[in-house]
Protein backbone atom coordinates (compact mmCIF):
# COMPACT_ATOMS: atom_id res chain seq x y z
CA UNK A 1 0.00 0.00 0.00
CA UNK A 2 1.25 3.47 -0.85
CA UNK A 3 2.21 5.80 2.02
CA UNK A 4 0.58 8.83 0.44
CA UNK A 5 -2.28 8.46 -1.99
CA UNK A 6 -3.77 11.60 -3.49
CA UNK A 7 -6.69 11.26 -5.89
CA UNK A 8 -8.47 13.88 -8.01
CA UNK A 9 -7.45 16.75 -5.73
CA UNK A 10 -8.82 20.16 -6.79
CA UNK A 11 -9.15 23.60 -5.26
CA UNK A 12 -10.36 26.92 -6.68
CA UNK A 13 -9.71 30.41 -5.40
CA UNK A 14 -12.55 32.42 -6.90
CA UNK A 15 -12.33 31.78 -10.63
CA UNK A 16 -8.78 30.42 -10.50
CA UNK A 17 -8.43 26.65 -10.45
CA UNK A 18 -5.13 26.58 -8.57
CA UNK A 19 -4.90 22.79 -8.43
CA UNK A 20 -6.89 20.77 -10.91
CA UNK A 21 -7.43 17.00 -10.74
CA UNK A 22 -4.11 16.29 -9.05
CA UNK A 23 -3.09 12.65 -8.55
CA UNK A 24 0.03 11.35 -6.86
CA UNK A 25 1.18 8.16 -5.16
CA UNK A 26 4.27 8.02 -2.98
CA UNK A 27 5.63 4.68 -1.79
CA UNK A 28 7.27 4.27 1.58
CA UNK A 29 10.93 5.31 1.56
CA UNK A 30 10.76 7.23 -1.72
CA UNK A 31 12.25 10.64 -2.34
CA UNK A 32 9.71 12.38 -4.52
CA UNK A 33 10.09 15.75 -6.25
CA UNK A 34 7.36 18.22 -7.14
CA UNK A 35 8.54 20.71 -9.73
CA UNK A 36 7.07 23.26 -12.10
CA UNK A 37 7.20 26.93 -13.09
CA UNK A 38 6.35 29.70 -10.62
CA UNK A 39 2.65 29.85 -9.86
CA UNK A 40 2.04 26.29 -11.01
CA UNK A 41 0.41 25.39 -7.68
CA UNK A 42 3.20 23.48 -5.93
CA UNK A 43 2.93 25.24 -2.58
CA UNK A 44 -0.87 25.04 -2.85
CA UNK A 45 -0.51 21.24 -3.05
CA UNK A 46 1.60 21.36 0.12
CA UNK A 47 -0.98 23.53 1.84
CA UNK A 48 -3.70 21.06 0.83
CA UNK A 49 -1.68 18.13 2.13
CA UNK A 50 -1.10 19.85 5.47
CA UNK A 51 -4.67 21.08 5.96
CA UNK A 52 -3.98 24.80 5.54
CA UNK A 53 -6.52 24.73 2.68
CA UNK A 54 -9.45 22.35 2.37
CA UNK A 55 -9.84 20.88 -1.13
CA UNK A 56 -13.04 21.36 -3.13
CA UNK A 57 -12.77 17.82 -4.45
CA UNK A 58 -10.55 14.82 -4.05
CA UNK A 59 -9.12 12.62 -1.37
CA UNK A 60 -5.82 12.45 0.54
CA UNK A 61 -4.86 9.19 2.23
CA UNK A 62 -1.83 8.81 4.48
CA UNK A 63 -0.89 5.22 5.24
CA UNK A 64 -4.47 4.16 4.53
CA UNK A 65 -6.00 6.84 6.79
CA UNK A 66 -8.22 9.47 5.19
CA UNK A 67 -6.86 12.90 6.21
CA UNK A 68 -8.69 15.04 3.63
CA UNK A 69 -10.83 17.07 6.01
CA UNK A 70 -8.45 17.22 8.95
CA UNK A 71 -6.86 20.44 10.20
CA UNK A 72 -3.15 21.22 10.35
CA UNK A 73 -2.68 20.00 13.92
CA UNK A 74 -4.47 16.69 13.33
CA UNK A 75 -2.53 16.12 10.13
CA UNK A 76 0.74 16.68 11.99
CA UNK A 77 -0.38 14.13 14.57
CA UNK A 78 -1.34 11.76 11.75
CA UNK A 79 2.26 11.91 10.51
CA UNK A 80 3.02 14.72 8.06
CA UNK A 81 5.67 17.29 8.99
CA UNK A 82 6.83 20.16 6.83
CA UNK A 83 9.30 22.98 6.38
CA UNK A 84 8.48 26.32 4.82
CA UNK A 85 9.61 28.18 1.70
CA UNK A 86 10.40 31.24 3.83
CA UNK A 87 12.03 29.87 6.97
CA UNK A 88 9.68 29.82 9.96
CA UNK A 89 11.70 29.11 13.06
CA UNK A 90 10.87 30.13 16.62
CA UNK A 91 13.37 32.95 16.41
CA UNK A 92 13.53 34.10 20.01
CA UNK A 93 14.01 30.57 21.29
CA UNK A 94 17.21 28.56 21.51
CA UNK A 95 18.08 25.85 19.00
CA UNK A 96 17.31 23.05 21.46
CA UNK A 97 14.00 24.63 22.47
CA UNK A 98 12.98 24.73 18.81
CA UNK A 99 13.51 20.97 18.66
CA UNK A 100 11.74 20.49 22.01
CA UNK A 101 8.64 22.21 20.61
CA UNK A 102 8.66 19.59 17.87
CA UNK A 103 8.88 16.88 20.53
CA UNK A 104 6.16 18.30 22.76
CA UNK A 105 3.29 16.26 21.33
CA UNK A 106 5.23 13.03 21.77
CA UNK A 107 6.43 13.44 25.35
CA UNK A 108 3.59 14.75 27.45
CA UNK A 109 2.76 15.80 30.96
CA UNK A 110 -0.13 17.85 32.27
CA UNK A 111 -0.37 21.63 32.56
CA UNK A 112 -0.47 21.36 36.34
CA UNK A 113 2.83 19.49 36.25
CA UNK A 114 4.16 22.30 34.02
CA UNK A 115 3.17 24.97 36.51
CA UNK A 116 4.42 23.24 39.64
CA UNK A 117 7.24 21.06 38.26
CA UNK A 118 5.89 18.03 40.08
CA UNK A 119 4.93 14.49 39.08
CA UNK A 120 6.16 13.41 35.68
CA UNK A 121 7.86 16.76 34.99
CA UNK A 122 11.42 15.80 35.83
CA UNK A 123 11.33 12.38 34.23
CA UNK A 124 9.67 13.49 30.98
CA UNK A 125 11.80 16.65 30.70
CA UNK A 126 14.86 14.41 30.93
CA UNK A 127 13.50 12.25 28.10
CA UNK A 128 12.74 15.37 26.03
CA UNK A 129 16.22 16.73 26.68
CA UNK A 130 17.90 13.43 25.75
CA UNK A 131 15.86 13.00 22.59
CA UNK A 132 16.46 16.62 21.52
CA UNK A 133 20.20 16.21 22.06
CA UNK A 134 20.18 12.93 20.16
CA UNK A 135 18.55 14.66 17.17
CA UNK A 136 20.92 17.63 17.37
CA UNK A 137 23.87 15.25 17.48
CA UNK A 138 22.63 13.36 14.42
CA UNK A 139 22.37 16.62 12.50
CA UNK A 140 25.60 18.04 13.91
CA UNK A 141 23.90 21.02 15.59
CA UNK A 142 24.71 20.03 19.18
CA UNK A 143 27.38 22.72 19.43
CA UNK A 144 24.73 25.39 18.88
CA UNK A 145 22.18 24.06 21.36
CA UNK A 146 21.86 27.33 23.31
CA UNK A 147 22.18 29.72 20.36
CA UNK A 148 19.09 31.74 19.52
CA UNK A 149 17.58 30.35 16.32
CA UNK A 150 17.67 33.79 14.69
CA UNK A 151 21.45 33.97 15.21
CA UNK A 152 22.15 30.81 13.19
CA UNK A 153 23.62 31.14 9.69
CA UNK A 154 21.16 30.61 6.86
CA UNK A 155 22.12 27.05 6.00
CA UNK A 156 21.81 25.93 9.61
CA UNK A 157 18.44 27.63 9.98
CA UNK A 158 17.18 25.48 7.10
CA UNK A 159 18.70 22.46 8.79
CA UNK A 160 17.13 23.28 12.15
CA UNK A 161 13.74 23.52 10.47
CA UNK A 162 14.25 19.98 9.16
CA UNK A 163 15.34 18.77 12.62
CA UNK A 164 12.25 20.34 14.19
CA UNK A 165 10.02 18.63 11.62
CA UNK A 166 11.78 15.31 12.25
CA UNK A 167 11.24 15.75 15.99
CA UNK A 168 7.48 15.25 15.48
CA UNK A 169 8.32 11.72 14.28
CA UNK A 170 6.56 11.98 10.91
CA UNK A 171 5.81 9.29 8.36
CA UNK A 172 6.18 11.79 5.53
CA UNK A 173 8.40 14.87 5.41
CA UNK A 174 7.48 17.77 3.11
CA UNK A 175 10.25 20.18 2.17
CA UNK A 176 9.16 23.41 0.49
CA UNK A 177 12.07 24.73 -1.60
CA UNK A 178 14.76 23.75 0.91
CA UNK A 179 17.57 25.06 -1.31
CA UNK A 180 16.00 28.49 -1.97
CA UNK A 181 18.57 31.24 -1.45
CA UNK A 182 21.45 28.84 -0.91
CA UNK A 183 24.88 29.01 -2.48
CA UNK A 184 26.30 25.85 -4.15
CA UNK A 185 28.16 24.87 -0.99
CA UNK A 186 25.09 25.18 1.21
CA UNK A 187 23.06 23.24 -1.38
CA UNK A 188 25.64 20.47 -1.24
CA UNK A 189 25.35 20.34 2.54
CA UNK A 190 21.57 20.28 2.24
CA UNK A 191 21.77 17.27 -0.08
CA UNK A 192 23.90 15.56 2.56
CA UNK A 193 21.34 16.43 5.23
CA UNK A 194 18.52 14.97 3.13
CA UNK A 195 20.58 11.83 2.50
CA UNK A 196 21.14 11.63 6.27
CA UNK A 197 17.40 11.89 6.97
CA UNK A 198 16.77 9.01 4.60
CA UNK A 199 19.55 6.87 5.99
CA UNK A 200 19.01 7.45 9.71
CA UNK A 201 15.23 7.60 9.79
CA UNK A 202 14.27 5.71 6.64
CA UNK A 203 12.11 8.74 5.85
CA UNK A 204 9.77 9.25 2.92
CA UNK A 205 10.26 12.75 1.51
CA UNK A 206 8.30 14.95 -0.85
CA UNK A 207 10.09 18.12 -1.89
CA UNK A 208 9.43 21.17 -3.99
CA UNK A 209 12.52 22.54 -5.64
CA UNK A 210 13.71 24.75 -8.46
CA UNK A 211 17.37 23.77 -8.24
CA UNK A 212 17.56 21.22 -11.07
CA UNK A 213 20.95 19.98 -9.94
CA UNK A 214 19.48 19.01 -6.60
CA UNK A 215 16.32 17.55 -8.15
CA UNK A 216 18.11 15.42 -10.72
CA UNK A 217 20.74 14.52 -8.14
CA UNK A 218 18.56 13.07 -5.41
CA UNK A 219 14.90 12.66 -6.47
CA UNK A 220 13.79 9.22 -7.57
CA UNK A 221 10.45 10.23 -8.99
CA UNK A 222 9.00 13.53 -10.15
CA UNK A 223 5.67 15.17 -10.78
CA UNK A 224 5.68 18.27 -12.95
CA UNK A 225 2.89 20.77 -12.37
CA UNK A 226 1.91 23.46 -14.84
CA UNK A 227 -1.07 25.82 -14.39
CA UNK A 228 -2.40 23.59 -11.62
CA UNK A 229 -2.40 20.44 -13.76
CA UNK A 230 -0.08 17.48 -13.79
CA UNK A 231 2.04 17.78 -16.91
CA UNK A 232 4.11 14.67 -16.45
CA UNK A 233 4.80 12.02 -13.81
CA UNK A 234 7.35 9.24 -13.43
CA UNK A 235 11.01 8.36 -12.99
CA UNK A 236 13.27 11.41 -12.79
CA UNK A 237 15.29 10.69 -15.93
CA UNK A 238 12.28 10.08 -18.12
CA UNK A 239 10.46 13.15 -16.83
CA UNK A 240 13.38 15.50 -17.32
CA UNK A 241 13.84 14.41 -20.93
CA UNK A 242 10.12 14.60 -21.74
CA UNK A 243 9.77 17.19 -24.54
CA UNK A 244 6.67 18.80 -22.96
CA UNK A 245 8.47 19.31 -19.64
CA UNK A 246 11.47 20.75 -21.41
CA UNK A 247 9.18 23.13 -23.27
CA UNK A 248 7.10 24.27 -20.29
CA UNK A 249 9.69 24.43 -17.56
CA UNK A 250 13.29 23.65 -18.37
CA UNK A 251 13.57 25.65 -21.58
CA UNK A 252 14.81 24.43 -24.93
Amino acid sequence: MALLDVTNLSISFGGLRAVDDFNMTIEKGELYGLIGPNGAGKTTVFNLLTGVYKPNEGKIKLDGEDITRKNTIEINHAGIARTFQNIRLFKQMSVIDNVKVGLSERYKYSTLESLLHVGRYKKVEKQIDDEAMRLLNVFDLAGERDTLASNLPYGKQRKLEIVRAMATDPKLLLLDEPAAGMNPNETKELMETIALVRKEFNMTILLIEHDMKLVSGICEKLTVLNFGKVLCQGETKEVLTNPEVVKAYLGE
Binding site: T72, N76, F84, K100, T111, E125
Partner: protein, 352 residues
Protein backbone atom coordinates in the same frame (compact mmCIF):
# COMPACT_ATOMS: atom_id res chain seq x y z
CA UNK B 1 23.80 18.01 40.51
CA UNK B 2 24.54 20.04 37.43
CA UNK B 3 22.43 23.19 37.51
CA UNK B 4 21.65 24.78 34.17
CA UNK B 5 21.62 28.50 33.52
CA UNK B 6 17.84 28.85 33.59
CA UNK B 7 17.49 27.26 37.03
CA UNK B 8 20.27 29.48 38.33
CA UNK B 9 18.63 32.59 36.86
CA UNK B 10 15.34 31.69 38.53
CA UNK B 11 17.00 31.15 41.89
CA UNK B 12 18.64 34.58 41.60
CA UNK B 13 15.20 36.10 41.00
CA UNK B 14 13.70 34.44 44.08
CA UNK B 15 16.80 35.44 46.04
CA UNK B 16 16.41 39.10 45.11
CA UNK B 17 12.80 39.13 46.30
CA UNK B 18 13.62 37.37 49.57
CA UNK B 19 16.63 39.63 50.18
CA UNK B 20 14.53 42.74 49.59
CA UNK B 21 11.94 41.39 52.03
CA UNK B 22 14.57 40.73 54.72
CA UNK B 23 16.16 44.18 54.31
CA UNK B 24 12.76 45.86 54.67
CA UNK B 25 11.90 43.73 57.72
CA UNK B 26 15.19 44.63 59.39
CA UNK B 27 14.62 48.32 58.65
CA UNK B 28 11.12 48.09 60.07
CA UNK B 29 12.27 46.33 63.23
CA UNK B 30 15.02 48.86 63.92
CA UNK B 31 12.51 51.64 63.41
CA UNK B 32 14.28 53.10 60.36
CA UNK B 33 11.20 52.79 58.18
CA UNK B 34 8.96 55.87 58.05
CA UNK B 35 5.21 55.29 58.19
CA UNK B 36 4.92 56.82 54.70
CA UNK B 37 7.39 54.29 53.36
CA UNK B 38 5.71 51.49 55.29
CA UNK B 39 2.43 52.28 53.56
CA UNK B 40 4.04 51.89 50.14
CA UNK B 41 5.19 48.31 50.71
CA UNK B 42 2.00 46.39 49.97
CA UNK B 43 1.18 48.46 46.84
CA UNK B 44 4.73 47.77 45.68
CA UNK B 45 4.13 44.02 45.90
CA UNK B 46 0.80 44.07 44.08
CA UNK B 47 2.20 46.23 41.29
CA UNK B 48 5.11 43.82 40.97
CA UNK B 49 2.63 40.92 40.82
CA UNK B 50 0.47 42.48 38.12
CA UNK B 51 3.63 43.42 36.18
CA UNK B 52 4.62 39.72 36.24
CA UNK B 53 1.11 38.81 35.08
CA UNK B 54 1.21 41.32 32.23
CA UNK B 55 4.69 40.21 31.19
CA UNK B 56 3.36 36.67 30.84
CA UNK B 57 0.76 38.05 28.44
CA UNK B 58 2.94 40.55 26.56
CA UNK B 59 6.41 39.00 26.71
CA UNK B 60 5.75 35.25 26.72
CA UNK B 61 2.44 34.97 24.88
CA UNK B 62 3.33 38.00 22.74
CA UNK B 63 -0.11 39.63 22.86
CA UNK B 64 -0.31 43.27 23.91
CA UNK B 65 -3.04 43.63 26.52
CA UNK B 66 -3.80 47.07 27.90
CA UNK B 67 -6.79 46.09 29.98
CA UNK B 68 -5.12 44.06 32.68
CA UNK B 69 -6.27 46.41 35.44
CA UNK B 70 -9.76 45.15 34.60
CA UNK B 71 -8.81 41.69 35.90
CA UNK B 72 -7.24 43.29 38.95
CA UNK B 73 -10.52 45.14 39.46
CA UNK B 74 -12.53 41.89 39.28
CA UNK B 75 -10.22 40.21 41.79
CA UNK B 76 -10.46 43.21 44.10
CA UNK B 77 -14.26 43.50 44.11
CA UNK B 78 -15.19 39.82 44.30
CA UNK B 79 -12.78 39.16 47.16
CA UNK B 80 -13.74 42.34 49.03
CA UNK B 81 -17.43 41.45 48.72
CA UNK B 82 -16.72 38.06 50.25
CA UNK B 83 -14.55 39.47 53.05
CA UNK B 84 -17.11 42.11 53.93
CA UNK B 85 -19.98 39.64 54.11
CA UNK B 86 -17.94 37.17 56.13
CA UNK B 87 -16.15 39.80 58.24
CA UNK B 88 -17.66 38.63 61.55
CA UNK B 89 -18.23 34.99 60.65
CA UNK B 90 -14.77 33.66 59.76
CA UNK B 91 -11.46 34.49 61.48
CA UNK B 92 -9.20 36.68 59.40
CA UNK B 93 -6.60 34.05 58.38
CA UNK B 94 -8.85 31.52 56.64
CA UNK B 95 -11.13 34.33 55.44
CA UNK B 96 -8.28 36.01 53.56
CA UNK B 97 -7.20 32.67 52.12
CA UNK B 98 -10.71 31.99 50.78
CA UNK B 99 -10.87 35.60 49.52
CA UNK B 100 -7.74 34.87 47.48
CA UNK B 101 -9.24 31.73 46.00
CA UNK B 102 -12.45 33.58 45.09
CA UNK B 103 -10.67 36.63 43.62
CA UNK B 104 -8.27 34.50 41.59
CA UNK B 105 -10.96 32.10 40.38
CA UNK B 106 -13.36 34.82 39.21
CA UNK B 107 -10.56 36.82 37.52
CA UNK B 108 -9.43 33.62 35.78
CA UNK B 109 -12.99 32.90 34.68
CA UNK B 110 -13.30 36.38 33.17
CA UNK B 111 -9.86 36.03 31.61
CA UNK B 112 -11.07 32.84 29.96
CA UNK B 113 -14.37 34.34 28.77
CA UNK B 114 -12.80 37.56 27.49
CA UNK B 115 -9.97 35.54 25.94
CA UNK B 116 -12.38 33.68 23.67
CA UNK B 117 -13.18 36.70 21.46
CA UNK B 118 -10.02 38.72 22.15
CA UNK B 119 -7.46 36.05 21.23
CA UNK B 120 -8.97 35.73 17.76
CA UNK B 121 -7.51 39.16 17.08
CA UNK B 122 -3.92 40.19 16.52
CA UNK B 123 -1.62 43.07 17.40
CA UNK B 124 -3.17 46.53 17.56
CA UNK B 125 -6.72 45.20 17.30
CA UNK B 126 -6.21 42.91 20.26
CA UNK B 127 -4.76 45.78 22.29
CA UNK B 128 -7.73 48.04 21.55
CA UNK B 129 -10.29 45.37 22.46
CA UNK B 130 -8.54 44.54 25.76
CA UNK B 131 -8.56 48.27 26.51
CA UNK B 132 -12.29 48.33 25.89
CA UNK B 133 -12.94 45.29 28.09
CA UNK B 134 -10.89 46.85 30.89
CA UNK B 135 -13.05 49.97 30.75
CA UNK B 136 -16.27 47.95 30.53
CA UNK B 137 -15.41 45.99 33.67
CA UNK B 138 -14.66 49.16 35.60
CA UNK B 139 -17.81 50.96 34.47
CA UNK B 140 -20.11 47.99 35.05
CA UNK B 141 -18.81 47.58 38.61
CA UNK B 142 -19.42 51.30 39.15
CA UNK B 143 -23.10 50.66 38.48
CA UNK B 144 -23.46 47.74 40.91
CA UNK B 145 -25.57 48.10 44.06
CA UNK B 146 -25.51 45.07 46.31
CA UNK B 147 -26.93 44.92 49.80
CA UNK B 148 -27.72 42.20 52.31
CA UNK B 149 -30.41 41.96 55.00
CA UNK B 150 -32.32 39.26 56.88
CA UNK B 151 -34.04 38.19 53.63
CA UNK B 152 -30.77 37.66 51.79
CA UNK B 153 -28.97 39.47 48.99
CA UNK B 154 -30.42 42.36 47.03
CA UNK B 155 -29.05 43.47 43.71
CA UNK B 156 -29.71 46.50 41.52
CA UNK B 157 -28.03 48.44 38.78
CA UNK B 158 -30.05 51.62 39.33
CA UNK B 159 -29.51 53.09 42.78
CA UNK B 160 -29.42 52.34 46.46
CA UNK B 161 -33.16 52.89 46.89
CA UNK B 162 -34.03 50.22 44.37
CA UNK B 163 -32.55 47.59 46.65
CA UNK B 164 -35.46 47.95 49.17
CA UNK B 165 -33.21 46.96 52.05
CA UNK B 166 -34.76 46.26 55.45
CA UNK B 167 -33.68 48.57 58.25
CA UNK B 168 -31.22 45.96 59.53
CA UNK B 169 -29.58 45.59 56.09
CA UNK B 170 -26.09 46.67 55.13
CA UNK B 171 -24.78 47.90 51.82
CA UNK B 172 -21.92 45.87 50.33
CA UNK B 173 -21.25 47.53 46.99
CA UNK B 174 -22.67 51.03 46.83
CA UNK B 175 -22.31 51.95 43.13
CA UNK B 176 -19.54 54.42 42.44
CA UNK B 177 -18.91 54.70 46.19
CA UNK B 178 -17.67 51.13 46.07
CA UNK B 179 -17.02 48.95 49.10
CA UNK B 180 -16.20 50.48 52.46
CA UNK B 181 -14.94 48.65 55.50
CA UNK B 182 -13.14 45.72 53.90
CA UNK B 183 -11.06 44.11 56.65
CA UNK B 184 -7.42 45.13 56.29
CA UNK B 185 -5.99 41.63 56.01
CA UNK B 186 -3.09 42.32 53.63
CA UNK B 187 0.42 42.93 54.85
CA UNK B 188 3.89 43.08 53.33
CA UNK B 189 4.75 39.49 54.18
CA UNK B 190 1.63 38.11 52.51
CA UNK B 191 2.29 40.40 49.53
CA UNK B 192 5.83 39.04 49.17
CA UNK B 193 4.48 35.50 49.55
CA UNK B 194 1.97 35.99 46.73
CA UNK B 195 4.67 37.61 44.58
CA UNK B 196 6.94 34.61 45.12
CA UNK B 197 4.15 32.16 44.25
CA UNK B 198 3.37 34.15 41.07
CA UNK B 199 7.04 34.11 40.14
CA UNK B 200 7.35 30.37 40.75
CA UNK B 201 4.29 29.68 38.61
CA UNK B 202 5.32 31.93 35.72
CA UNK B 203 8.99 30.89 35.71
CA UNK B 204 8.05 27.21 36.01
CA UNK B 205 5.63 27.64 33.13
CA UNK B 206 8.32 29.21 30.95
CA UNK B 207 10.64 26.24 31.52
CA UNK B 208 8.08 23.60 30.66
CA UNK B 209 6.42 21.91 27.74
CA UNK B 210 3.43 24.27 27.94
CA UNK B 211 5.64 27.35 28.16
CA UNK B 212 7.67 26.34 25.12
CA UNK B 213 4.44 25.85 23.19
CA UNK B 214 3.26 29.33 24.23
CA UNK B 215 6.55 30.95 23.17
CA UNK B 216 6.51 28.99 19.91
CA UNK B 217 3.09 30.48 19.13
CA UNK B 218 4.48 33.95 19.92
CA UNK B 219 7.39 33.47 17.52
CA UNK B 220 5.49 31.83 14.66
CA UNK B 221 1.98 30.51 15.04
CA UNK B 222 1.91 28.88 11.59
CA UNK B 223 5.02 26.84 12.33
CA UNK B 224 3.67 26.03 15.81
CA UNK B 225 0.49 24.65 14.26
CA UNK B 226 2.50 22.65 11.73
CA UNK B 227 4.44 21.18 14.68
CA UNK B 228 1.15 19.89 16.10
CA UNK B 229 0.74 22.59 18.78
CA UNK B 230 -2.87 23.41 19.66
CA UNK B 231 -2.58 27.19 19.25
CA UNK B 232 -5.99 28.14 20.67
CA UNK B 233 -5.55 26.00 23.80
CA UNK B 234 -2.16 27.43 24.74
CA UNK B 235 -3.15 31.03 24.02
CA UNK B 236 -6.18 30.64 26.29
CA UNK B 237 -4.06 28.97 28.93
CA UNK B 238 -1.50 31.80 29.07
CA UNK B 239 -4.15 34.52 29.02
CA UNK B 240 -6.20 32.85 31.76
CA UNK B 241 -3.18 32.35 34.03
CA UNK B 242 -2.18 35.96 33.42
CA UNK B 243 -5.68 37.16 34.37
CA UNK B 244 -5.68 34.95 37.48
CA UNK B 245 -2.39 36.42 38.71
CA UNK B 246 -3.69 39.94 38.02
CA UNK B 247 -6.73 38.95 40.10
CA UNK B 248 -4.50 38.02 43.04
CA UNK B 249 -2.94 41.49 42.84
CA UNK B 250 -6.48 42.85 43.08
CA UNK B 251 -7.16 40.82 46.24
CA UNK B 252 -4.12 42.37 47.90
CA UNK B 253 -5.21 45.79 46.69
CA UNK B 254 -8.71 45.61 48.14
CA UNK B 255 -7.57 44.20 51.49
CA UNK B 256 -5.01 46.96 51.97
CA UNK B 257 -7.43 49.92 51.89
CA UNK B 258 -10.67 50.68 53.67
CA UNK B 259 -12.55 52.20 50.75
CA UNK B 260 -12.48 50.38 47.44
CA UNK B 261 -13.83 52.24 44.41
CA UNK B 262 -13.58 51.27 40.75
CA UNK B 263 -12.01 54.60 39.89
CA UNK B 264 -10.17 55.45 36.69
CA UNK B 265 -7.10 56.35 38.66
CA UNK B 266 -6.53 52.80 39.87
CA UNK B 267 -8.37 50.58 37.38
CA UNK B 268 -8.65 52.70 34.21
CA UNK B 269 -6.51 52.47 31.13
CA UNK B 270 -4.00 54.92 32.59
CA UNK B 271 -3.23 52.40 35.30
CA UNK B 272 -2.99 49.61 32.70
CA UNK B 273 -0.57 51.69 30.65
CA UNK B 274 1.50 52.40 33.75
CA UNK B 275 1.88 48.66 34.33
CA UNK B 276 2.78 48.21 30.68
CA UNK B 277 5.51 50.81 31.25
CA UNK B 278 6.87 48.65 34.07
CA UNK B 279 6.89 45.64 31.76
CA UNK B 280 8.45 47.40 28.79
CA UNK B 281 11.16 49.13 30.79
CA UNK B 282 11.92 46.01 32.81
CA UNK B 283 12.35 44.15 29.54
CA UNK B 284 9.61 42.39 27.58
CA UNK B 285 9.81 38.68 28.39
CA UNK B 286 12.18 39.37 31.30
CA UNK B 287 10.20 38.41 34.40
CA UNK B 288 12.82 39.51 36.92
CA UNK B 289 13.08 42.87 35.13
CA UNK B 290 9.34 43.42 35.58
CA UNK B 291 9.59 42.96 39.34
CA UNK B 292 12.56 45.31 39.67
CA UNK B 293 11.07 47.94 37.34
CA UNK B 294 7.69 47.83 39.09
CA UNK B 295 9.30 48.38 42.49
CA UNK B 296 11.58 51.22 41.38
CA UNK B 297 9.02 52.98 39.22
CA UNK B 298 6.27 52.67 41.82
CA UNK B 299 8.40 53.89 44.72
CA UNK B 300 10.16 56.69 42.87
CA UNK B 301 7.28 59.13 42.29
CA UNK B 302 6.06 58.47 45.85
CA UNK B 303 9.46 59.14 47.38
CA UNK B 304 9.91 62.25 45.25
CA UNK B 305 6.72 63.84 46.57
CA UNK B 306 8.86 66.25 48.58
CA UNK B 307 10.27 67.68 45.39
CA UNK B 308 6.81 68.63 44.28
CA UNK B 309 7.22 70.48 40.98
CA UNK B 310 10.20 68.48 39.76
CA UNK B 311 8.71 65.12 40.61
CA UNK B 312 7.37 64.17 37.20
CA UNK B 313 10.41 65.68 35.49
CA UNK B 314 12.73 63.40 37.42
CA UNK B 315 10.37 60.46 36.88
CA UNK B 316 10.48 60.90 33.10
CA UNK B 317 14.27 61.23 33.11
CA UNK B 318 14.46 57.95 35.05
CA UNK B 319 12.18 56.33 32.47
CA UNK B 320 14.52 57.41 29.68
CA UNK B 321 17.62 56.24 31.55
CA UNK B 322 16.05 52.85 32.28
CA UNK B 323 15.09 52.49 28.64
CA UNK B 324 18.68 53.11 27.59
CA UNK B 325 20.17 50.85 30.25
CA UNK B 326 17.83 47.98 29.41
CA UNK B 327 17.64 48.16 25.65
CA UNK B 328 20.69 49.79 24.09
CA UNK B 329 22.96 47.03 22.70
CA UNK B 330 26.11 48.99 23.52
CA UNK B 331 25.07 49.48 27.14
CA UNK B 332 24.07 45.83 27.50
CA UNK B 333 27.52 44.88 26.22
CA UNK B 334 29.15 47.30 28.67
CA UNK B 335 27.01 45.94 31.51
CA UNK B 336 28.06 42.37 30.78
CA UNK B 337 31.73 43.38 30.64
CA UNK B 338 31.53 45.26 33.91
CA UNK B 339 29.84 42.37 35.68
CA UNK B 340 32.45 40.00 34.29
CA UNK B 341 35.20 42.16 35.79
CA UNK B 342 33.54 41.94 39.18
CA UNK B 343 34.26 38.23 39.02
CA UNK B 344 30.57 37.53 38.76
CA UNK B 345 30.88 35.11 35.87
CA UNK B 346 34.58 35.34 35.45
CA UNK B 347 36.27 33.25 32.82
CA UNK B 348 39.81 32.32 33.70
CA UNK B 349 42.25 32.76 30.87
CA UNK B 350 45.23 30.48 30.92
CA UNK B 351 48.30 32.12 29.46
CA UNK B 352 51.01 29.77 28.31
Amino acid sequence: MHMDKKTKDNLITYGIVIAAFLVVEVLAMTGKLSSHMGGLLVPMTYYAIIAVALNLCVGILGELSIGHCGFMCIGAFTSATFSKVMADKIPSGPRFFIAFIIGIAVAALFGFLIGIPVLRLKGDYLAIVTLAFGEIIKNVINAFYIGVDSKGFHFSMENQMALNLESDGTMIINGAMGITGTPKDANFMIGIGVLLISLVIVLNLINSRDGRAIMAIRDNHIAAEASGINVTRYKMLAFTISAAIAGSAGVLYSHNITTLTASSQYFGYNASIMILVYVVLGGIGNIRGSVVAACILYLLPELLRGLNKYRMLIYSIVLIVMMIVNWSPKVIEWRKRTFANFGFKKKVKVVK
